[in-house]
Amino acid sequence: MSRMQSLLAVVAVLAVMGVFSVSAPALMNDYFVRILTVMCINAMLVVSMGLANGFTGVFSLGHMGFVGVGAYLSGVLSLSDAAKAAYLPDLPAWIAGLHLAFFPSTLVAGLVCIVLALLVGAPLMRLSGHFVSVATLGFLIIVNVVLINADVYTRGARTFTGVPLETTLPWAMAWLLLTLVVLARIVYSPKGRAWRAVREDIIAAQAIGIDVLPTRLSAFVIGAFFAGVGGSLYGHYLGSFSPAGFYFAYTFSLISMLVIGGMRSITGAVLGVVIVSLLSELLRNLERGFDIGFVAVPPLYGASQIVLGIILILIMIFRPSGVMGDLELSFGRIAALLHKGRKE
């Protein structure tokens, strides 16, 4: 497939998705639009999580910390003056006077997460293996404690509310596409090859002149930017949220998406989001209890998470690199598959 053809294919997909995202509310019911929007946000979070966790081999459990910071920060910035006076009356004057629209507050959230990730990552990216996971988990807990206790800015453990509901499907889809394009460009560039080299063998990577710390840090920081942006999108989708929403349960669901799809592949991560989201939605409906003709199955709360956990264990045992492994689903590959199918 020539460069021209693949460029045309990308443009065609963009056009189709653009038309689809704008016309979706007219085509299908609210339920599906909501699922799609959340899936786009989750895909952003999962793919950005995959940079450090999958491509660089530094398995961070702290991604959700940046998501929480992004959601709260952009929420405070975009809250209307009336809502600020009602919900956060003790805000310092200079913050109370700040008011940004959705897009700039989202960008600010991403940029602040870059700074935070530099500060946190500079020491933590020196660690490897289990130790970096436990240390980044520590970061997540610290963020959670601060969100709960900084009640002047966050209303503490109570629900933070009044965030304008600005995240529509086109917004979410546009940000997701931007994320995918930017990250695919980086991952399959010399920089991305350095990430993978560091993951595969630190000593060999150092021997060919790769500086390990900045290499890991760059993946962590870029991931944090998109986590902050995704947090802002999620916050402006929910409208009201609390620190508990950006903690361990959400972390686990992102991890399961990333790992089931394949954390060494961008399209794998997206595929994981699609699989886990659809499965959870299906199981959640079953969980409420249903009738099969003559037997009434009672509600089984928790059953869908148990199924998800079992699937994750089975993946770990039989296919630890996820559904996609190292492969990407590209237009060229699809075309080749179709071509092969036709020949046979």
Binding site: P123, I142, N149, Y301, G309, P320
Partner: protein
């Protein structure tokens, strides 16, 4: 109230809390020592122990026997998890082990919700345990449960100390922690050692779960999560993989938490957990092998 008595009271609180952290941290450290695995599901054995004790009590067993049963079910749960989930991924990369244990946590906690609902259940205590001792006109107070916690932890630790220094299986476990391949080569049955390690570690966690439930008065599906995180900190402060280190780390962490609340201004104490985890990160960066463990490369 005199200052000496106040300090004595805080030391009593610290020893009681530290005993619980030590019980959980020791199991975590044992499993890490042998399998190089950060076992996130370890905390849930506390939940299993707590709920089993509750169920056995409701079935009409006396409190003492119910506790013994609860510890037994905790140990059994650990062995089952090892056999079904951890053995198939043994020897896989660290991340695979970590993810498998995360998945097990998720399954166990939701199994708890499925069976017992997500709300906290009352944990009944016999009357004789529900009393407190007051000394110096009530300036020093501690409960039967505090006393029992320290006593049972002491018994458990002494038994463990005897086991790992005087029995063949205990010595084998330490050999496997030192070098799994060499232990295999000299003819040790590594599978059996690992099963025993999981049984002991999970039994300790089950005991900690019962004591935790007795102190808080309730059992709930997520009760093991926070103690597990604290046990990570304790184990790493002491030296991850070392039993003595986990013991030391548990008591140090208990003391630190109690003293932060007792001696620092009240604006600081809500940030107690943040301080504890900052300490964890500091240890990982500057003394990653903890206080009691020989040097080993974990950093760049």
């Amino acid at each position: 109230m005199s200052f000496e008595l106040y300090i004595t009271q805080q030391i009593i609180n610290a020893v009681s809390l530290g005993s619980l952290y030590a019980l959980v941290a020791i199991g975590l450290s044992m499993i890490f020592g042998i399998l190089r695995m950060t076992n996130f599901a370890h905390g849930d054995m506390m939940m299993v122990g707590g709920f089993s004790t509750l169920v056995l009590q409701n079935l009409g067993l006396g409190f003492g026997w119910a506790v013994v049963g609860g510890i037994g079910v905790g140990a059994l749960a650990g062995v089952i998890v090892e056999r079904t989930a951890y053995r198939p991924v043994r020897g896989a990369p660290e991340v695979t082990l970590l993810l498998t244990s995360l998945a097990v946590t998720y399954i166990l906690e939701n199994l708890g919700i499925l069976i017992f609902t997500s709300s906290a259940q009352n944990f009944p205590l016999p009357d004789w345990m529900d009393s407190a001792f007051q000394l110096y006109n009530g300036q020093i107070t501690f409960t039967q449960i505090n006393l029992l916690t320290v006593a049972l932890t002491g018994v458990a630790l002494t038994a463990l100390g005897w086991f790992v220094t005087r029995t063949d299986i205990g010595l084998g476990m330490r050999a496997a922690a030192e070098d799994m391949g060499a232990a295999h080569l000299v003819g040790l049955d590594v599978n059996r050692l690992i099963v025993v390690a999981f049984a002991i570690a999970s039994g300790f966690a089950g005991l900690a779960g019962v004591l935790w439930a007795a102190q808080s008065g309730v059992v709930e599906p997520y009760m093991g999560f926070t103690p597990l995180l604290k046990a990570f900190v304790a184990a790493i402060i002491g030296g991850f993989g070392s039993i003595a280190g986990a013991l030391l780390g548990g008591y140090l962490l208990g003391a630190l938490e109690v003293f932060i609340v007792a001696f620092f201004p009240s604006e600081i104490s809500p940030y107690r957990d943040a301080i504890v985890f900052c300490l964890l990160i500091a240890f990982l960066l500057f003394r990653p092998n903890g206080l009691l463990k020989r040097t080993q490369e974990v950093k760049l």
